[in-house]
Subunit: 187 residues, 2 copies
């Protein structure tokens, strides 16, 4: 099963529910790459259309993968080697298609309720039985993925149910989502 | 079930496996407090013996709980209201005893293998059937909780198994641990 994850900085909502490009949080790149490595994912995309933010992310990745950081912390190198940059979702899908010779099915994650949302059990089953199809899990930064992007996705995952509280960071939400979807397979 | 969590900055190992006090990462306080609120925990302790670090954490908490941040982001206030400061583990245990009239059982978490380690299933069962005993989950920052602290704990939890990779951030590890131990109870 070829699973990829994308940390989407666009198109996401801002505080006022305007569609915008969220700023990178460099720690998110580290955390999601380390999760991708832990759960045996094939790649971790950082998606932003902003050139200056792409340059920042590339500097960070180069530092840990080929620069001084690679010697200082080889396990971080191992994780960050999975990270690739992309301008938009289309570029991510093209990259995966090049590697896997098939277009990925997209799995949107959201803290809101959608009627078409799948449970974690259903989605884990779809991944296990998905055959040769690659899957791409989409994580929203800022105030979350836009409704339009979610509705265009092949699957929507139900929100993480908390005790009446649904405001996790994207880092910790990614950890829970990956553990629920593929944690069983790596144990 | 009264469950607490403590983000321990001492006693932990540094890179050279010397016992030391790790520096606070303010994001960790936010992330672990938000997880504590999501999973219905009774409190989230930030433990450091360093006065300047305690002052920093208090400023952060005050900003979000009673200061300007409380109006700006009420859901953050809700999470950070669960945070308390302590100098050491003994002070945490005394605080819990005052609230629950019983001493908490400690559950150490670690990325290393210990012969006495319990599986997540066993530990979740212990929490469910623990009756009136409060439980305190200990998270190590830096390079992890010291062996001595782990061996003095009532329980040791097995490491999060990854595909030959065991280097998650404390934030994302906390998310997975709480979801595995109490996620079933909040769904």
């Amino acid at each position: 099963m070829a699973i990829y994850i994308a940390l989407m900085h666009y198109p996401v909502y801002d505080r006022q529910e305007r569609v915008s490009a969220a700023a990178l949080t460099t720690l998110d790149i580290h955390d999601v790459a380390r999760l991708a490595r832990t759960y045996g994912l094939k790649g971790c995309y950082v998606v932003t259309p902003l050139r200056s933010q792409q340059a920042l992310a590339r500097r960070l990745i180069d530092h840990w993968v080929t620069g001084w950081g690679a010697q200082y912390n080889p396990t971080r190198k191992e994780a960050l080697s999975l990270v690739r940059m992309a301008e938009d979702l289309e570029e991510v899908l093209a990259g995966i298609e090049q590697e896997q010779s098939r277009r990925a099915k997209t799995v949107a994650t959201t803290a809101r309720r959608y009627p078409q949302a799948r449970s974690y059990g259903e989605m884990a089953e779809a991944l296990r039985t998905g055959g040769d199809d690659p899957y791409l899990i989409l994580l929203g930064t800022g105030w979350g993925l836009t409704r339009e992007l979610i509705e265009q996705s092949d699957y929507v995952l139900e929100p993480i149910a908390g005790k009446g509280y649904n405001h996790l960071s994207v880092r910790t939400a990614a950890a829970i989502i990956l553990d629920r979807l593929v944690g069983g397979a790596v144990q």
